[in-house]
Amino acid sequence: MSDIYIICVEDEPQVLDVVIRDLEQLEEFFPIEGAASANDARQLINEIKEDGNRIGLILCDHIMPGDKGVDLLVEMQKDEFTQSTRKILLTGQAGLDDTIQAVNKARLNQYVSKPWKKEELLKIVIDELTDFVIETEDDLLPYLSVLNQEKLQEAIRSKGYI
């Protein structure tokens, strides 16, 4: 069974640290990796792919040196490997045009504006990961204790196996 990664893309090291710390209770089940730019992120995605693992969720800043966050998300939506990855934009400065592009072309799942509250971010990430495992996994039991249990039980019920 392959690992499901969470990746966080953020150019400011202090902010990246806070994001990763806010999500650390998920680390045991979903390895968390950080990247400082879109280019870093591409390299990371390739490494994860080559190891035979998957990416369940990406938390991405928008304004960064080099390619913008939305460009990266659009690119990921086009790539089969990262199409089912849940995509969250975590930013304070994405303009209307960029946001529209993210929704239409990258199928953005959530938009979280800075500054965020830890509980809110955690809840959003957990819900998105829950949808990801329901969509892609056959055996949901390993996730009951970490993700949204009600949603998962509901999915087990409707699958209806003995």
Partner: protein, 543 residues
């Protein structure tokens, strides 16, 4: 998520299972067991391989069932590679004196020889052995001049009459499978239109807000639903009801354990209540059906219900004692919102009609599997169940049971089951001891294996002990089959024992020792209660 070491141990388990399975299959090819027919050796190979694969889950348990049917069709059917052009080797007995005959030594099987009626059929006759040499001198009144006798008593056609391959394939459409399919259709439609959730809300209301009664309510509702639906789906659905309650309980309060544990336990127990409750029940009914014994839906319920009620109550008391709560009251928000669309109404009517007909078989005499076709046809004709709904039914469970039934057929008709149990003189033991042994074996196996697989392996043995008479006087096929099926369903010691247990454990609210404590009480008292019922109650229902 699983570490490298777990992957490695899985790999070792897979290879061990694979190698042992292949050894098991080949063993009877290299060793000849006396008293077991040629076909019995093949059936033994299939049996050993299937048992290993089922135990180690080398391949998914339903694919083991498919493999069993495949091997039976190829190796044991009349049209298969071994029996398709087989014919009995024959010779003529030579008249020696006025009342004795000479036959080849290989033609004699103990004090018996076989007269060939045609190339595949024979009649066994008892003879008196007078002298043994290269040719054996025998005496029998049944031998006539020119009688063709089978010249090799160990031939593959002796002791086994090959059956058509369609018998093995046909297990997938056997009455009990159709009964289950009817149950699946009803359960699938109930989930689709949220009938299960709404029923839960309605049924839970009278139980109030006190913790003890809420738990009792959860258990009663879970058991009732799981008697008609899959135990797993019922558990998952009831967990969505229990989770909001758990959120109201302090982390250190042991009542959290009760809430997470009561549901899988009730689901396991509730499965015993009806023939369609869980697959082991199907195995019991199918094996009895092969012997021409029909168990009515209502009869099954009447026999099992006291056991179900007793075990539910016992589990409730045990958990109350082990995990007391400090809380006095809960808020329950139960929304009742019955779907009133046309397909939902059709479902309600068909559901009610089917269950009513199932319970009144003694009045109208229509077998339950025929009734089961009412929802199968009714729900599809009216478009309540659509193509994608039918595709999402748990078909692999039907294959699992069908493979189990097919294996049972070969264990019986090759004489394998007989041979396996005949080494011990069972009639020295009273019936209740035999039942106790079968019950404990089934309970122990079933704690580690799939309940269905355990029933598949154990029930044919009990049946052949009964039919052959080696179990002694008073050994009832119905009682022993039901007792074993019940024992299989009582196994809930460990997270791996049943899928509902696995769900409960995965919630993170309970630890294995909590489950073991309650599981031991239910298993042991359950077996004792089954034995008591088998002596004092079941005989009156059957007669």
């Amino acid at each position: 998520m699983p570490g490298k070491s777990k992957q490695k141990s899985n790999q070792i388990k897979f290879l061990t299972g694979l190698i042992l399975g292949i050894i098991g299959f080949c063993l009877p090819l290299f060793f000849t067991f006396s008293g077991l027919s040629y076909a019995g050796h093949i059936a033994l190979g299939i049996f050993l391989m299937a048992a290993v694969f089922w135990m180690f889950e080398t391949i998914p348990i339903y694919s083991t069932s498919m493999l069993v049917i495949f091997l039976q069709v190829v190796l044991l059917s009349q049209q298969g590679v071994i029996f398709s052009d087989a014919s009995l080797p024959t010779t003529t007995a030579k008249q020696h004196t006025s009342d004795s005959w000479l036959v080849p030594a290989e033609a004699v099987d103990g004090e018996r020889i076989y007269i060939a009626n045609d190339s595949r059929n024979y009649t066994a006759i008892d003879v008196k052995i007078l002298d043994r040499a290269d040719w054996v001198e025998i005496r029998s009144n049944e031998l006539q001049t020119d009688a063709k006798i089978v010249s090799n008593a160990n031939h593959k056609l002796v002791g086994y009459k090959p059956v058509s391959f369609s018998l093995f394939f046909g297990t997938l459409a056997s009455p009990i499978i159709i009964l289950f399919l009817g149950g699946f259709m009803l359960a699938g439609a109930a989930v689709k239109y949220n009938l299960d959730k709404n029923l839960t809300s309605v049924l839970l209301k009278p139980f109030g807000t006190k913790p003890g009664f809420i738990v009792l309510g959860l258990m009663v509702v879970t058991a009732t639903l799981s008697a008609f639906m899959s135990n797993t789906a019922t558990t998952a659905m009831m967990m969505t009801v229990a989770i909001p309650i758990v959120a109201q309980v302090a982390r250190e309060d042991k009542f959290r354990i009760v809430l997470a544990l009561c549901i899988p336990i009730a689901a396991n127990i509730g499965g015993m209540a009806t023939p369609i409750g869980t697959p082991p029940n199907a195995i019991a009914i199918a094996n009895l059906g092969q012997q021409g014994i029909n168990i009515e839906f209502g009869t099954w319920v009447v026999m099992m219900l006291p056991l179900v009620i007793l075990l539910l109550f016992l589990a409730w008391l045990t958990m109350r004692f082990l995990f007391p709560t400090k809380l006095r009251e809960f808020k329950l928000s139960l929304k009742v919102d019955f779907n009133k669309s046309r397909p939902a109404i059709i479902l309600y009517l068909l559901f009610a009609a089917t269950v009513l007909l199932w319970f009144t078989e003694s009045v109208h005499g229509i077998p339950s599997s025929m009734v089961a076709f009412l929802p199968i046809a009714g729900l599809t004709v009216t478009g309540v169940m659509k193509q994608e709904d039918i595709r999402s039914l748990p078909w692999e469970v039907l294959w699992l049971v069908a493979g189990g039934i097919a294996l049972g057929i070969s264990m019986e008709n090759t004489g394998l089951a007989m041979w396996l149990v005949s080494s011990i003189s069972w009639d020295a033991f009273p019936q209740i001891v035999l039942l106790g042994v079968f019950g404990l074996v089934a309970l122990n196996l079933s704690n580690f294996l799939s309940n269905t697989v355990t029933a598949t392996l154990v029930i044919p043995l009990a049946i052949s002990m009964g039919t052959s008479g080696i179990a002694g006087e008073g050994f009832s096929l119905v009682i022993s089959s039901l007792a074993i099926a019940a024992a299989c369903n009582m196994a809930m010691l460990l997270p791996i024992s049943t899928p509902p247990n696995a769900i409960a454990m995965s919630t993170g609210f309970i630890k294995t020792p909590d489950m073991v404590k309650v599981g031991i009480v239910i298993g042991l008292i359950g077996i004792v209660a089954t034995l008591v019922l088998s002596q004092l109650y079941w005989p009156f229902i059957i007669n």
